[in-house]
């Protein structure tokens, strides 16, 4: 397979064959995590800058681990304490980083479209979207595919129930796109106030009853509920949310017996997911974290290598 992508802004342009190839490469990267020395020289001499304008723990750490395991030089840049606070534009900031020799910029930003914009402004460096506003989080979708595939095998024809705050979730947007590409049927559930208006145009169905969505599903994906949503009047109460849409043992019992229970983290135990489910036999939540490092290694390796 020839690899034609230099950046990852969104998975829109990726074909199913490319996703299959990519996930297989990620499998081999995951092998590295079991070795006594978890480091290979593949990206020696490449410089990667992690630019996080928004808080992140797992995405930033897993990108950093992936970069270090491939022997890239890592620079962590954060908006606070940088020249951003002196009024420098984003464009000038990344041009500066590129002039210093950055081969790739990993960017998370609160505004939609920033990674796309940077990929057009940068002359040489690759750009990887680590989350832009409510728009997308493509590496999360890749890691979710990777861990779902590990649990279920072939995903083609599988059924997924995605339950929670779809409206404010960039994870939901990227995951719906990626899982549908792999042949998965996605059904959304959650309070109608937390659903986008255009569920039809996303190619998914919406049912308000979580039990109906979960029945027979192969993947149960629970999205994070922010407590502020209650203050905004979008959910009645945390308790009622948990009863109706939370991941409980009785809800998981409706799904296929070997269903994968997934959550992008960080979890609110007792809100969108009960501890007994999060730590239960169907949960692949820690597997998702592991997959996060593996897919980011595959991404860096495939997009950063080769003659420029």
């Amino acid at each position: 397979m020839e690899w034609r992508h230099k950046d990852l802004i969104s998975l829109e342009g990726w074909t199913r064959e490319e996703l299959h190839f990519f996930l297989e490469q990620a499998d081999y990267m995951e092998e590295l995590m079991n070795r006594p020395i978890k480091k290979v020289p593949a990206l020696r001499g490449k410089m990667v800058v992690n630019c996080f304008f928004e808080n992140s723990t797992r995405t930033r750490v897993s990108f950093e681990l992936a970069e270090k395991m491939l022997s890239a030089d890592v620079v962590n840049w954060s908006a606070s304490g940088s020249s951003t606070s002196k009024g420098e534009t984003l464009r000038d900031t990344v041009w500066t980083l590129e002039a210093m020799g950055a081969d790739a910029v990993v960017v998370r930003h609160g505004a939609v479209g920033v990674p796309d914009y940077l990929s057009k402004k940068l002359h040489r460096a690759s750009v990887f979207n680590a989350g832009d506003g409510t728009n997308g989080h493509p590496t999360q979708a890749l890691l979710d595919l990777h861990s779902a595939r590990k649990k279920l095998g072939n995903l083609d024809g599988a059924k997924m129930a995605m339950i929670g705050d779809v409206l404010h979730s960039r994870v939901a947007r990227s995951d719906i796109q990626a899982f549908r590409k792999m042949g998965v049927t996605v059904t959304l559930s959650g309070p109608a106030t937390l659903m986008p208006e255009d569920t039809g145009s996303l190619g998914v169905e919406y049912v308000s009853d979580a039990r109906e969505a979960a029945r027979g599903a192969d993947i149960l994906y629970f999205l994070r509920i922010q407590r502020e949503r209650q203050e905004d009047g979008l959910i009645p109460s945390i308790d009622e949310y948990h009863r109706r849409w939370g991941a409980t043992d009785s809800l998981v019992a409706l799904a296929s017996p070997k269903a994968a229970v997934m959550h992008p983290g960080p979890m609110n135990r007792g809100v969108e997911i009960a501890s007994s489910v999060a730590d239960g036999p169907n949960s692949v939540i820690l597997g998702q974290v592991r997959s996060g490092v593996a897919v980011r290694m595959a991404l860096l390796y495939l997009c950063l290598g080769g003659a420029r």
Binding site: M1, E2, W3, R4, H5, K6, D7, I9, G13, Q25, D27, Y28, M29, E31, L32, R35, P36, I37, K39, V40, P41, A42, G45, K46, F53, L70, A79, T84, G87, E88, T89, L90, R91, T93, H109, G110, A111, V112, G113, V114, D116, Y117, S119, K120, N135, Y301, L302, G305, G306, A307
Partner: protein
């Protein structure tokens, strides 16, 4: 949808800040085509793969053609049997011997040796597979990234006698990478090298302990080892690149 880029396109937005006035400016710009540059502009060109692990850029008239068969299926079997005998002799048995096949054809050759040991010596020799892609020294100069394959060891290799198995020994760079990979995976008592074909043109001080056949070649030729598992047939052929070549390709 509020889009940050249009703002900065005009140099108006400082990092991470959106004001109401700027949002209005952004709306005006939504209909401009500054955002619509196609993604494909930044994608790489198309490449043709030759052999495994290496991708060479396709140029017009640059096609590999078969020139001569240098080993038949029967030759290959005979040679592997001889190498198996030599391995037993050199190591005075098969105690602590571990076969490590280099992806991809070396893996299948190692499996053949294992079968021979099982039949002739009644010993099940542990065998693993080693992928050296991530240890290559030319990774930043190749046109495209080589594909990564699986590495799996049959257990701890520390203190063992590792026999590396590869199909063709050429520049020696693959073996250099394999030695680095092995160093990261454990500390064997010794490492030996078995190859089906030694075609010369070494660029590093590396020699094989067991050689199936030495074949003098020119750099414009390529030695292709074929195994049933991947290619449908067993055998070794020499191919030549039409139009001549400056650099050979390591199989």
């Amino acid at each position: 949808m509020l889009s940050f880029p249009q703002l900065e396109e005009r140099g108006e937005a400082p990092c991470g800040v959106l004001s109401v006035g700027r949002v209005f400016a952004a709306l005006l710009f939504l209909f401009s085509d500054t955002m619509s540059e196609p993604f494909s502009r930044r994608e790489r060109g198309s490449f043709l793969r030759k052999g495994d692990g290496i991708v060479v850029k396709a140029q017009s008239g640059n096609v590999w053609t078969e020139k001569a068969t240098v080993m038949t299926e029967r030759d290959m079997e005979r040679v592997l049997r001889r190498i198996a005998v030599e391995i037993v002799e050199r190591n005075k048995g098969l105690d602590d011997v571990v076969l490590l096949g280099i992806q991809r054809r070396g893996v299948h050759l190692a499996a053949r040796l294992r079968e021979i040991f099982k039949a002739e010596e009644k010993v099940k020799v542990p065998a693993g597979e080693l992928d050296i892609t991530l240890y290559r020294d030319d990774i930043s100069t190749l046109a495209d990234q080589p594909v990564v394959h699986s590495t799996s060891l049959p257990g701890d290799i520390t203190g063992k006698r590792v026999v590396l198995v590869d199909d063709v020994l050429f520049t020696g760079r693959t073996i250099r990478a394999a030695l680095d990979a092995i160093t990261d995976l454990g500390r064997p008592e010794r490492v030996q090298l078995a190859v089906l074909v030694d075609r010369g043109h070494r660029e590093l001080p590396i020699a094989a302990d067991y050689v199936g056949k030495t074949i003098p070649t020119s750099r414009s030729e390529n030695v292709e080892v074929r195994v049933k598992e991947l290619d449908g047939t067993d055998g070794v052929v020499i191919c030549e690149r039409n139009g001549g070549a400056e650099h050979g390709v390591e199989a």
